[in-house]
């Protein structure tokens, strides 16, 4: 671990990760924040490689950079532009910084002071096979529970995000109001939507 | 062969529904603009004339009045009828719109409004179609691009042609009240000398 190449890799990746994370705090635009998040994720994937956990590194890139960041960008696109400033919450900023400082000092002190009894054997090789086997053999129960959890999350997310009928009516009414030019429709007292909401019915019915 | 539907027969149908709304003037059916909609509706709905296809809708500026011309066609009986509606008021010509009866009239009426300035009451979206909103005047009117001295541009006559059938015969053009957006002629207007130079 001591040759020059490894040092170069570790320090550059550490800088990339911490730099990306701190830029998230500073950047004004939320989309910039997500892109800095992606950069720090890639940094962390590199750090996994330096720890020779290459299966985890590739999974990290595949899931975090490939899916979760795009999911966040979609969420940002679906919410209005007015909300996109990445502004801090000034009045809770102060105490938050205090708490974070406290946590940081305690964790750093623990990290540096205790004797972890670190031992340096050769790293695992061919993690993919070992992890796969242990998932099936040793950790079969958590594996199944994880599967159930993922399906539940999937169904929950769809059920939440889907527009059911009266929402669609409100949406259709506000669209019609937009086209006719008067102000936006007050979502509460929409008795019978001017446009019969037949378009989304197909979805609701299926 | 597409027969031309007999104007008098059409007049009877219209008069049956809207007495006095139609008259035939040398073989052409003229309809009163005020009751235009129900007379055309009677022509469209009566089984005997069955004029369901609005072929063509345009206007002609007859200098003293506007004429809105409709060509209605029956596809099953294969005959065509030409209808004219005369609008005398040049300042604010208006004719009831047929978009209620024929959906095809939408664009054609907008075109006539754009190029002639004839308002179609009841048209849902009467805007200029080709020209932009701020365009001064209506191009297809005869007095648009009017030469000073009320002489219409174009072809007074041909060099090798004899003098007597020069056209239009000077002074024959009826004098019309000056339109507000006509270019105002400088100095006093003498029609007489104008014609000597040009012939």
């Amino acid at each position: 671990m001591s040759d020059f190449g490894f040092h170069l890799a570790f320090w550059s990746l550490a800088a990339m990760t911490l730099g990306g994370a701190s830029m998230i705090i500073i950047s004004r635009n939320l989309i910039h924040a997500v892109i800095w998040l992606v950069m720090s994720m890639l940094g962390i994937a590199g750090l996994y490689l330096t720890l020779s956990a290459d299966f985890i590194a590739v999974v990290q890139v595949l899931i975090y950079v490939g899916a979760i960041s795009v999911l966040m960008l979609f969420a940002i696109m679906l919410t209005p532009r007015a909300e996109r400033d990445n502004s801090q919450n000034i009045k809770t900023g102060g105490p938050a910084a205090l708490v974070v400082l406290l946590v940081m000092i305690s964790t750093l002190w623990v990290a540096i002071d205790t004797d972890w009894g670190a031992v340096r054997e050769a790293a695992l090789t061919d993690q993919a096979r070992l992890i796969g086997e242990s998932l099936i053999k040793h950790y079969i129960l958590p594996f199944e529970i994880g599967a159930v959890l993922l399906t539940a999350a999937l169904v929950g997310a769809i059920a939440l995000a889907r527009q059911d009928d009266e929402d669609a009516a409100v949406h259709a009414a506000s669209l019609q109001a937009e086209l006719d030019g008067e102000g936006s429709v007050d979502p509460v007292n929409v008795v019978d939507p001017p446009i019969a909401a037949e378009a989304p019915d197909s979805e609701a019915a299926s | 062969m597409t027969a031309t539907y007999d104007a008098t027969a059409a007049m009877e149908i219209v008069n049956a529904h809207a007495p006095g709304a139609a008259c035939v003037d040398d073989g052409v059916l003229f309809l009163e603009p005020e009751r235009l909609v129900e007379s055309v509706q009677s022509l469209r709905d009566s089984g005997e004339s069955d004029l369901v296809f609005l072929c063509n809708l345009t206007a002609v500026d007859q200098e003293l009045h506007f004429e809105v011309v409709y060509h209605l066609q029956s596809l099953d009986l294969n005959h065509i009828l030409q209808i004219k509606a005369r609008v005398t008021d040049r300042e604010d010509p208006a004719v009831p719109s047929l978009t209620g009866l024929f959906y095809g009239a939408h664009l054609q009426e907008r075109e006539v409004y754009d190029l002639f300035g004839i308002r179609f009451e009841g048209h849902p979206d009467l805007r200029r179609m080709f020209l932009w909103e701020g365009f001064p005047g209506y191009p297809l009117r005869k007095d648009f691009l009017q030469m000073p001295g009320q002489v219409r541009a174009g072809l007074p006559g041909f060099p090798h042609e004899s003098e007597e059938n020069a056209w239009p015969v000077p002074g024959s053009v009826p004098q019309r009240p000056m339109h507000p957006n006509d270019p105002q002629p400088e100095g006093d207007l003498v029609v007489a000398e104008e014609s000597e130079e040009s012939s």
């Binding site: 040759d3 020059f4 190449g5 635009n29 989309i31 910039h32 892109i35 992606v38 290459d54 299966f55 590739v58 999974v59 890139v61 595949l62 950079v65 490939g66 899916a67 960041s69 795009v70 960008l73 979609f74 696109m77 061919d126 993919a128 | 369901v52 296809f53 029956s74 596809l75 099953d76 009986l77 294969n78």
Partner: protein
Amino acid sequence: MTDLAQLGNVLGAWYDFRDLNNLQRLITEWIAEWGPDWLASIVTGVLGALGILAVVGPTLLILIWVERKVISRFQQRYGPNRVGPKGLLQPVADAVKLILKEQLAPRAADKLIFFLPPVLIFVPGILIWGVLPFGPRMSVADLNVGVLFLLAVSGTAVLVIFMAGWSSNNKYALFGAMRAVAMSISYEVPMVLALLTLVVFSGTMSVNGIVEWQQQEDVIFILLFPLSAIAFFFAASAELNRTPADISEAESEIVAGYHTEYSGMRFGLFYAVELGNTLVVSGFIATFFLGGWWLWGLDQWVPSWIILLVKTGAVYFLLIWTRGTLPRLRIDQLMSFCWKALVPATLLFVVVAFVERTLLISEGWDTTVALPIMAVFNIALTLGAIMLFARVARPAPLRRPARIRMAGSDIGGLRAAREVASRREEPQFQVGGD
């Protein structure tokens, strides 16, 4: 020992061009003698990268010419033949023209995110090459998670496309970006499942391992899993935004999709990377399903990377062929095809692969006998699945045939229309429908 191999031994390994790896080993040994050890590892990395760029660079230029010539042949015209002999310098002329063109940027564009994509889009394009094995030991990085690496890197390309589309502040670009992201995410699922059948069967996730398994069993995967091959081909062409799934840059609908606002060399980069991705994806299709650098023993004679390039060329021609002739599908049709057809089909084949794998391993069937039977069964299953899909999943308007009748004597309006419609005899022209 064939005489060619003897020649290699006589003249020393580095003459033997069948396996370029010898060359690289020779160089690193020479450096290891006098230099520090870290220098050797860096030099091998650099050599690998240079090798890749040496392969990608010229082939890109040639590919631009090949694609334009082949498509022009489809369209009854000559294609570029003005610049250089038979138009060969046309790509160079294009590149020079693009470099000289002014680099425009829309006024309200998000500057930082607008300038990054043309550079960042190259990263996944070149990274993917690292895992492609050109020969038994000739791949830049023989990761044992190669297949997963391929999917992860092609996943990041989606992010760059979104950045390009969103930042150019143009509605067409935004449409293109949203469509590209929605489509690539949903087509990653069938891609993963198609590769899962291969990984399950060959037992290893390293790309070279899959090729070696095919060599060892003397069978190519397209015979064993034809539906996975078709699914992977279609998912890859959707990932690359190529017809029939090029809706993210559908010029007839949204002008040029996510790279509408890019001009000059920036557009050139997008275009080059698109071609580079197509080449590397056809390379992977050749490696996974057609046996990569191995061809029933021929690779003893012919250098392995030539075999791979020939197979890649064949798959690339197939991609050009679909691009030249097929019309484009709508975004909702693409999505429903992916989720209602490709995903169930590939899931079915993952189950089939598991069952056959257990038969081979735990039951201990003899592979030379078992594999042909399984191949026949899989091919029959594929044809059955395709027939079932063609029969079941036709949208309503497509069930009835489109019919044209001749009006004959009754010309007229609605009454004549009813007469023509009510006629008994067979319509003059009928197409489509089941």
